[in-house]
């Protein structure tokens, strides 16, 4: 079964809105970049909707219980995140996309493709599970070496999380070493995904403002066609003030 089935990720979505996602390992700075992008888009008058990985209320109890008692296996970890994504997809991603808004997603299905496969589930299985997910108009992959992300995480909150460090994989009993091994594997898979799905790679070791400049430029390009549609709908009034 090496032949990969076509999924919605292989072609552009049909909705009037735009979907922009950020990906990267923990500590890559992707959330900071997305927040800055959101501010910029809002200031320019775009109708923006923000949604974030693992935030639906539906599986919160199960996820918390599973994580606290280390009950999660690679398959249940994967499926619980899929429930979270599906719930947010139906209530938070699809309606704004259909209503013509700009949806900003902090992590998208590629997170599952990277992390769950690093945990040992089959790469084609997890792609099948997420088959209902449409392709974003633009996905940024914030690429950063493990040591840089570790530095950022350790200065930020001084403690690594159990699953984030892949401690459930029993790669090492040392939290730091486990993080390096597990996130190293995740990073390798992200590199493959960037090729497979055309993710836009951003060097996340650069300074924040420099990265944001690139992010805004690429976003502007993706929104050009969208702006034309909006201009028509707004009686010639451009949403971009400048």
């Amino acid at each position: 079964m090496s032949r990969r089935r076509r999924t919605l990720l292989s072609s552009p979505h049909p909705y009037p809105g735009r979907l922009i996602a950020v990906e990267g390992i923990d500590g890559s700075g992707k959330s900071t970049q997305l927040q800055l992008l959101e501010r910029w888009l809002r200031a320019r008058g775009y109708p923006v909707h923000f949604t974030e990985w693992n935030s639906s209320r539906l599986v919160r109890t199960s996820m918390r219980r599973g994580k606290r008692r280390n009950l999660l296996t690679p398959s249940t970890f994967s499926l619980l995140h899929a429930v979270d994504f599906a719930d947010r997809f139906i209530y938070q991603i699809l309606p704004p996309l259909r209503a013509g808004m700009v949806v900003l997603a902090d992590r998208y299905v590629y997170t599952a493709f990277a992390r769950d496969v690093a945990r040992g589930v089959h790469a084609d299985w997890v792609r099948g599970v997420y088959r209902f997910a449409p392709r974003p108009d633009l996905t940024f992959f914030f690429r950063v070496p493990i040591d840089v992300s570790l530095d950022r995480l350790l200065t930020g909150r001084a403690k690594l999380k159990y699953y984030e460090a892949g401690m459930d994989m029993e790669l090492s009993s040392d939290l730091l070493e486990s993080f390096r091994l597990f996130q190293g594997r995740v990073l390798e898979i992200y590199d493959e995904l960037a090729q497979e799905y055309g993710l836009r790679v951003i060097d996340a070791t650069q300074d924040i403002a420099g990265q944001q400049k690139t992010v805004r430029r690429m976003t502007g390009e993706v929104l050009r066609e969208y702006d034309r549609g909006r201009t028509r709908n707004n009686n010639g009034r451009s949403p971009i003030a400048s």
């Binding site: 539906l58 599970v129 088959r131």
Partner: protein, 253 residues
């Protein structure tokens, strides 16, 4: 799907690669059938009988995993589920029981009797309008059971049993599908579709059908006959010639 040794269990789809090397000498026996058909009564009787025969038995049900039972109950109470989240929640629950109950018991050589299996999800998802190809991809992590016994019933026999028994329930009546605002009417429509879908699956997956309109004792006798037959065949193939040849070859070395 790669070929695996005949004694080993097979995955339904892509499986769980990190468990590929586990030896599972136990037996996975599934009892399928719609709501109110008498599955739990029959399973209790089967279990008692098998234990008397000297087999260690482990039961597993549908939506009983400690990880998800609460979430599923909450979600059902709030009716915020859609076909996709509904299917995935059940898949997560199934995976939890697969990895924490079914596979460990099979590893320990138990007979696992599963009260419903992935086929229940296949039937329900199909009725909700979820893409059947997607459903079977999601359940690609499941083990193929050794034996599926299907309690087959018709709607006219089922209705009075359910009414006399625990009564009609919102979900089992398919009220979430908005087939009818009347629960009795909805139950009839939903269950007749469900029965039709189970019958289709029975053909597709080669279930062994047992007529569930018969008495409890008659049904039990038939189930035991099928289980005995399966266990006999399994014991016979376990003394595989290939394995004997391998052992013989090893002795020579």
């Amino acid at each position: 799907m790669e070929d695996r040794p005949s004694r080993a269990k097979r995955w339904y789809g892509h499986g769980l690669p990190y468990l590929d090397d586990k030896l599972l000498p136990g037996h996975l026996i599934v009892i399928e059938g719609t709501d109110g058909v008498g599955r739990s009564t029959q399973i209790e009787l089967l279990r008692g009988w098998l234990e008397l025969e000297g087999y260690a038995v482990s039961n597993t049900g549908w939506t009983r995993s400690p990880l998800l039972s609460e979430t599923i109950a909450d979600a059902k109470a709030g009716h915020q589920l859609t076909p996709v989240t509904f299917s995935l929640l059940y898949a997560a629950d199934f995976a939890d029981r697969l990895e924490h109950e079914i596979i460990p018991a099979l590893q320990a050589g138990f007979i696992v009797i599963a009260d419903r299996y992935m086929y229940t999800a296949f039937a329900r998802n199909a009725l909700m309008g979820a893409d059947p190809e997607w459903t079977s991809e999601v359940f690609g992590m499941a083990l193929v059971p050794d034996l599926v016994l299907f309690l087959e019933i018709d709607l006219d026999t089922l209705v009075p049993r359910v009414v006399r028994g625990k009564g009609m329930d919102y979900w089992e009546s398919g009220m979430h599908l908005a087939l009818s605002s009347d629960i009795f009417d909805s139950f009839q429509r939903y269950q007749s579709r469900l029965i039709a879908e189970y019958n289709r699956l029975a053909g597709e997956f080669g279930f062994i059908s047992v007529d569930a309109r018969k008495s409890v004792d008659e049904i039990q006798a038939e189930l035991r006959a099928h289980v005995s037959e399966y266990l006999r065949r399994s014991a016979a193939t376990n003394n595989e010639p290939a394995e004997d040849a391998l052992l013989a070859a090893l002795r020579k070395v």
